[in-house]
Every structure is written in C-alpha cells, then in structure tokens.
C-alpha cells in the first residue's frame, strides 16, 4: 500500500521538476556568489549601467548621452544602491530574479500550450546556462527576460480566459509587465506589437465561414479589448519613461532611448569593428558590435556627430545604403545570422566561463532551434492558414519581431537570449506533444 503511494508520488512530474528547480537555484547561488560575482565584471555596458545608477543616486541631471540605453535598469540599480554605494543588494535582487525566472518561463509556457509544456520549460530554464550567467552580470537581460516572460504569460492567459473579469485582470497584468520589460529593453514593444498583429490575423482567418462580410469585426472585439487593456496598463510607466527620455534628449522625442539611429548606422556602414562618434564640444562615444568582433572586422570609422543625434545617424546610414544596397541587404542578414548562430554570447566569451558560453550555443541549436524548426515544418505542411492560426505562430511572433529588429540594427547572441523563452516554449510543446494537441502538428505523446 505504502509502496503504491510512494510510486504515485514518484510518478508525479511536479516532484522531479521541483528537484531540478532546486538544483537550478543551487547552481545560481554558487555561480553568482562564488564563480562570477557581478561586482568583479563591471566594464563596458555593465560600467555604463552602474555609472549611470551612481549619477542618479547623486541627483545629477540626465543628458542625452544618459539615455542611450533604457533607463529602467539604471534606475533599479540606483534604487537598490540608495543607502550607499554598495552593489550587494542589487546582486541579491539579481539572484532572486534569476531564481524566479524558471517559474516565470514555466508559467508562460503553461499559458501558451499547457501544463506539461510548462513543467518541462521550468526544467530546461532551471539549467539553461545563459539564464544563470546573466543573473551574475550587471546587465538588464535577466530582469528583461523575467518581465517579458510574465508579460507574455499574461497575454497568452488572457486569450484563453473564459471569464471576462479574469481576462481583464490578466491583460492589465500583461500590460504592466510589458511596460516594465520595455523600461529594460526597447525590443519588448515590437515583440508585443507583432504578437497582436498575428493574433488579429488569426482571429479574422478563423471566423465562421459563410457569415456576411461585416462579421470579420465580431471576432476582433475581444482582441481589441485585450489590446486596449494592455496599452492602458502599459501607458503610465511608458509615459513616464517617454517624458524623462525626451527631456534628457534635448526635447527630441524618445520613449526608452535614443540609440536606435546609431545602432542603425553601426549595422549599415560596412564591415566595421566600431564607430567613433565625435561631437566636438559635446561628447565622444565609441561602440562596436560583438557580432562584428566575432567576424573579425578591423576597420574603425569616425563620424562628426553625436551618437545621440538620431537624425544624423539615420541620414548617414541611408546614404551608405543608397551607395551599397546589395551589401546593406547582406549585412542585415548577417545581423540575423549573428543573433541566432553567433559562436558565443557577449561578454561571456571574454570571461573564464567561456566554455559554458560556447556550449550553451550548441545547446540552443540542438535542443531549441532544431525542435523549433521541426515544429514549424510540421505546421507549415498543414498550409498557411493553419500556420497563421496556430498557437505556435503566436509564440513565434516575438522571435520574428526580434529578427526584424536586428536586421535593422545589429545582431549578437545576447540579443536573442531573452527570446529563448519562446524557443523553449515551442521546443517543449513539441517534445511533450502539447503542440500536437493544440496545433494538430508534431509528434503525439
């Protein structure tokens, strides 16, 4: 009797998932506290965030060079450093967020496909090295990944909720989480935008056949309501961000940062290692993409305007593209390739833990990319309507948005890693058979 009960307990996947999750917490603690304490690797972007946080603590006024990156992470660091200059509290918060990430990813995957997908996603993300690594660096990635997962958990759950009250609450929660994610990385906004576009298209395509032409509007009503709720919930924080950013940017409108123009130029100015932006009497910046470093580009160029001058950067980029249209297209594709198949992620390839950075890229290809490819192949075989109306198209929408974003700017593996949560969702759903149940494609279990 007792052994039967024990067998029943042992057969419960939740137990094993909890065990792996506990292992994941142990690994995070060891990695962040012993192997790579974040305070030992403060340079480049990490230095920028920490330096800006210190300036915010010192109540110094923000200027255009301060809003190249979204302010959310520096503000958070400043808040956590408020008692003094120590980063210990910030490190502890990072650790907690890194530990909360696997349940958040599990929640999103559960909302997207079902319970089994969610459980497997918790297992995978508990042990996925990039999610451990970015928890041990003063970069916005781990927070962004966490809030992005929560935002999409809200969006997926809101689609499925039967009760209107629950749907409203979930959409509002998703919108709030989206605004926090956007304060950490701007790419959250195009991801959600494309998600809603695909959701809308799917609803129009799945409307009952034979209805009068006006009926296409009816299935869109809940979609529109959800979209409006998400926007309303996201508006307060995005509004504050836009106001602060615009004021710092010499009243040139910006929402989360002013770096878009310079990223566009960096990605479309030839095969260059970096650009030096020299604005005489104002500021000097030098930036290169890790994607360019991993292609061993050596050329350095200098431009006579500020990195924060979006208009000048775009003008220069368009001029170069006009002169080299073919090369510009290839460079855009290069950025996409570097994002998905770059050999390793920045800054890990500079650190002692580089082998794990390299291995995690192979883990991505074997355990995430190939199953996603097979899943997409299985759905595409059912026809384009089936593709567009599938749950997988919705899970894939943020990846498509990322692809477009990096094609316009520059690409590197680090940009992809927060979006690995969607690869995890698709791959886990494919493996456990939830995809077969939900989308009618892929192996059944």
């Amino acid at each position: 009797m007792q052994s039967r009960r024990l067998k029943a307990v042992l057969n419960e996947p939740f137990l094993w998932v909890s065990l792996v999750y506990a292992c994941g917490i142990g690994v995070r603690l060891m990695y962040t506290l012993i192997i790579q304490p974040p305070a030992t690797t403060i340079y480049s972007d990490m230095g920028l965030y920490v330096g800006l946080a210190r300036r915010i603590v010192g109540h110094m006024p923000l200027t255009a060079p301060d809003v190249t990156h979204p302010l959310g992470y520096s503000e958070l660091l400043a808040f956590l450093m408020a008692g003094g200059q120590s980063l210990t509290l910030a490190m502890n918060v990072q650790l907690v967020v890194a530990c909360l990430l696997p349940p958040a990813v599990g929640l999103m995957c559960w909302a997207a496909y079902g319970r089994r997908t969610g459980l497997l996603a918790v297992v995978f993300s508990s042990l996925y090295f990039p999610f451990i690594e970015y928890g041990a660096l003063f970069l916005s990635e781990i927070h962004f990944t966490f809030w992005l997962a929560l935002a999409f958990a809200g969006l997926f759950a809101a689609r499925r909720a039967h009760r209107r009250g629950a749907m409203i609450a979930l959409a509002l929660g998703g919108g709030l989480a989206l605004s926090i994610a956007s304060s950490l990385k701007s790419v959250a906004l195009p991801a959600v935008f494309l998600y809603f576009v695909i959701d809308g298209v799917a609803l129009v395509l799945t409307r009952p056949a034979g209805d009068p032409a006006s009926s296409w509007w009816r299935p869109l009503k809940p979609w529109l309501l959800r979209g409006a709720l998400v926007a309303v919930a996201a508006a307060p924080l995005l509004g504050v961000l836009a106001r602060v950013c615009t004021r710092a940017n010499n009243d040139q409108f910006c929402v989360t940062g002013n770096k878009m123009g310079s990223d566009f130029l960096l990605g479309h100015y030839g095969r260059i290692a970096d650009i030096e932006w020299v604005s005489p009497g104002r500021d000097v910046f030098r930036f290169g993409s890790p994607g360019a470093l991993l292609r061993h580009y050596d050329d350095h160029v200098s431009v006579p305007f500020s990195m924060t001058d979006g208009a000048a950067n775009k003008r220069q980029a368009w001029r170069w593209i006009g002169d080299h249209p073919g090369e510009a297209v290839v460079l855009s594709l290069d950025h996409v390739y570097d994002t998905f198949f770059g050999s390793s992620m920045w800054p890990t390839f500079n650190h002692g833990s580089w082998p794990y950075g390299n291995i995690s890229e192979y883990v991505f290809i074997v355990f995430l990319f190939i199953p996603t490819l097979l899943a997409c192949g299985a759905i595409v075989r059912r026809g384009w309507r089936a593709v567009l109306t599938s749950r997988t198209a919705l899970a894939f929408a943020p990846i498509a948005a990322l692809t477009i974003t990096v094609a316009v700017a520059t690409g590197e593996v680090r940009y992809r890693i927060p979006f690995d949560i969607f690869f995890i969702a698709i791959a886990c759903a494919y493996v456990v058979g939830d995809m077969a149940r939900v989308d009618g494609a892929g192996p059944r279990r």
Partner: protein, 458 residues
C-alpha cells in the same frame, strides 16, 4: 495559353525537366567563365595556401631539389597537377583553363552522384543546384585543391552508390574499381577522402548486417558482395596511394605518411587553447606560422611558440595530448567548436577577405536554408521510424562522409572551407528530400505531404 500555341514536340520537351536543367547548367558555365576570367582571376589571389601550392609546383616543375618534410604538409596531388600543367614560362594560364573545365564538370558529377544515390530526379535537381552554388564557382577561381577534390570525391561516391545497385557482378566490379581510382585521386588532393570512404563502407556493412528479411541468407552471404566491392576499391586505389605514400615517406625523412605530415600539427593547433596561431620552430631554416580561419573569425588573439617544427608529428601530438590532459573540459569544448565552425562558420576562407565577401556570406545562408534545414527534416523523418530503419537507410550512407568530416574536424580544426566539398552530400540529400526520392527509398508508406485537416481552435 502560350503553351497551347507551341508544337506538340516542343511542348513535350518543355514538360520534361531535362531542357531546363541544361539551360541552368549552361548558365552555370557562363557564370564560371565570367567569374574566373573577369571577377576573381586566380592569378590575383596567390597568397597563403595558394602561394604554397604555386611555389611548390614551380619547384616540382623547374627544380630537381628533393622534396623535404616542409613540402609535404599538404597532399602533393594539387602542386603536382599544377607543375604538370604549368607552361615552360611558368605561366598559370593553362591551370586557370583547367580549373574552369573542372569547375564546369562538377555540377554534372554531382548530378551523377544524386542519380546513383537516389534516382534521376534527384540527379537533375542536384545538377541545377550545383550549377549555381557560389562556393563551387568561387573555388574554381582560386589556386586551391578544393574544386579538384570536389570533382573526384563526387565521382568516387557516385561509383560507390552505383556499384551497390547494379545487378551484374562484372559491371559492379568495374564501377567499384573506377570508384577506387577516383578515391585515390581525391585523396591526392585532400586526405579526408579516406575517412569519408571508410565510414561509408562501415555504415554500409552495418546496414547489411542489420537487414531484416524473412528470406535473408546468412550474414556471410549477404556481406560477400560488400566485401568484394571494398576489396576492389582498395585494390584500385592502391597504385596511386602507394606512390603517394612512397614519395611522402621519403620526403618525411623515412617517417611513414600517406598524403602529408600535417595531421599532428593540426591536432595541436586545434587543442592548445583559444589560439590565433602557432609559431613552430625552424626545420633547416623552414619555420611555419599557421592559424585556423575558424579561430581568426572567433577573434582569438593569443599565440603559442613551440620549439619543434610543424612537421614533427610525434612532438606535435605529444604537446597536444599534454594540453588535453591538463584541460580536458576545454579540449572537448574546442573540439565541438571546430564542428560548429565547420557547419555554422560565418563565411569561407579566403573569400571573406575578398571583394566577393557578400556572396560568401549569402552562400552560408543558402547552405543553412536550402541544405541544412532539409537535412534536419529528412533525418527527423527517418529517425521516427527507429534506429534500425535509420541505419539501413540510403540517407545514412549519404550522411556517412559528413559524419567522417565531423570526426576529422573534431580532432583537428574546423572551418567552413573544409565543409564545402562535403556539401555535395548535403545537396544530394536535400534534392532527394525535395523531389521525394528520399521518401520513396527511405520512408516507404509515409504520407508525402501530411494532412490538411483544420487545426483545433485555440
């Protein structure tokens, strides 16, 4: 509408794939001629490996100095061919012409391989693809052994596949002998042809042993034709390999080698840390300094100076094993890195440094989308039928040389250029998948296109 206005004969010909294949092939020839004579003249890019080959060829042609260990780091086939074709003035014009001819013959050879491995439709589509595949055009316009290796490797495997299928023993023996000869020529250009053929025959033998038929004869009887083919291939390859071995071993101061003495130094280069290059000690004033394009693209900056020469196999292998023993985990990661660089490297050497770099980048994306992705789909479909079905499939045989390449680069170093000759197998596989020849042979009874049922509402 226009079709109806055409005569019946012309319409029938248009309905056949062959005229279109010929048209694309002609386009491929024009592309090669234009690229080699106008866009990238091989004479304008004689550096690094190209310089090594051309210099050695000039020595072979115009000097009676004996070959020394530093001359046989690369297989001798290509410099010997260059030396044979060089004019008395040392002009490379005839070599360029020969390269163009071989480059133009490659699509046909690949078509032959496709037809022998899977069937006519695969062969035709493979010819189309190979006619326009940029790396095959590019390596035809460089003084490197690649294009010749591709050609002979393709012929060798076309023969291996054909010999399996013919019913008459005499024809099978003749074809296997031809395959063995082609294999030996391919080996004279690049050593990796030997492990490719070896793994092919191992997989084939395994497949024969695993074959499950009610009326199947004993394993000895089943293996007999395979053993005969292997023996014939070995015998046919022997003369040239024997000559190569004798020349290589003599030049290598009596240390045995078949095609070259670089394998241990490659092993060290790939397993001594994240190195940009190694500076080897001089051997009678001949020093070497080599780095892999794979590590160049990863932007490694460190270099290593070793006191022994690059041609000292024992010292190189000893140093590599010592490093591996001290860094076992890193050594494994580096080995996997080499595989990654071979299949997913951003572009092939030396083209990423040339004005035509954009085509090299694009060709990597073409590889990923049109060759790698179909290979994944094909393998997944076959694996779903179980391991026995996978191992006894035609596709396992086509993948065998790719597996051999993977093992080779794991041991040494990896770069996209090493993969490109083996793209012939990816091409054949992808074309067989696209034309459904693969489904016919390896997935009997499988639904060709899947169902088109409406997906459940979410």
């Amino acid at each position: 509408m226009i079709e109806k206005m055409l005569p019946v004969g012309v319409r029938a010909r248009m309905g056949s794939a062959l005229p279109w294949v010929i048209l694309v092939y002609a386009l491929g020839i024009a592309l090669r001629v234009f690229y080699t004579l106008k866009v990238q003249r091989p004479e304008d890019f004689v550096m690094s490996d190209m310089y090594f080959y051309v210099t050695l060829a000039n020595r072979l042609a115009f000097s009676s100095d004996p070959l020394m260990p530093w001359d046989i780091t690369h297989p001798l086939g290509y410099p010997a061919l260059l030396a044979f074709v060089l004019s008395r003035t040392g002009s490379l014009a005839r070599v360029v012409d020969l390269q163009i001819v071989i480059s133009c013959l490659v699509p046909l050879a690949i078509g032959l391989l496709g037809a022998a491995a899977y069937g006519r439709r695969t062969g035709l589509l493979a010819t189309v693809f190979a006619s326009l595949y940029f790396p095959f055009v590019d390596f035809g316009a460089l003084f490197l052994s690649e294009i010749h290796f591709i050609f002979w490797l393709t012929l060798a495997f076309a023969a291996f596949f054909a010999a399996r299928r013919v019913r008459r023993r005499g024809v099978a023996v003749a074809i296997a002998a031809g395959g063995g000869f082609a294999l030996s020529v391919a080996t004279a250009f690049k050593s990796v042809a030997i492990p490719a053929a070896f793994v092919f025959f191992v997989v084939e033998g395994l497949a024969i042993l695993l074959e499950r038929r009610d009326d199947a004869p004993s394993w000895r009887v089943r293996l007999a034709p395979w053993a005969i083919r292997v023996a014939v291939v070995g015998v046919a390859a022997m003369p040239l390999l024997g000559v190569l071995t004798s020349v290589c071993t003599r030049a290598n101061r009596g240390h045995f080698c078949v095609t070259g003495n670089k394998a241990p130094s490659d092993f060290l280069l790939g397993h001594a840390g994240r190195l940009a290059y190694i500076q080897w000690g001089d051997d009678e004033g001949h020093g070497f300094h080599f780095g892999s394009p794979g590590s160049y693209l990863r932007h490694y900056n460190d270099h290593l100076d070793v006191p022994f020469p690059m041609t000292d196999g024992a010292a190189n292998a000893g140093a590599a094993w010592k490093w591996i023993a001290q860094h076992p985990g890193e050594a494994i990661v580096l080995s996997i890195d080499h595989v990654f660089d071979t299949f997913f490297g951003v572009a092939h050497w030396p083209t990423y440094g040339h004005p035509t770099w954009a085509f090299a980048h694009l060709s990597q994306y073409v590889f990923m989308i049109l060759l790698f992705a179909p290979m994944v789909f094909a393998c997944a479909a076959i694996l779903r039928r179980g391991w026995r079905a996978a191992l006894t499939s035609r596709t396992a045989l086509v993948l065998a040389p790719i597996a051999a390449l993977t093992l080779t680069v794991m041991i040494a170093t990896g770069e996209t250029r090493y993969r490109i000759p083996f793209d012939i197998f990816f091409i054949v596989l992808a074309c067989a998948y696209a034309t459904k020849d693969l489904a016919r042979l390896d997935l009997p009874g499988a639904s060709p296109t899947g169902t088109r049922a409406t997906p459940p509402r979410s």
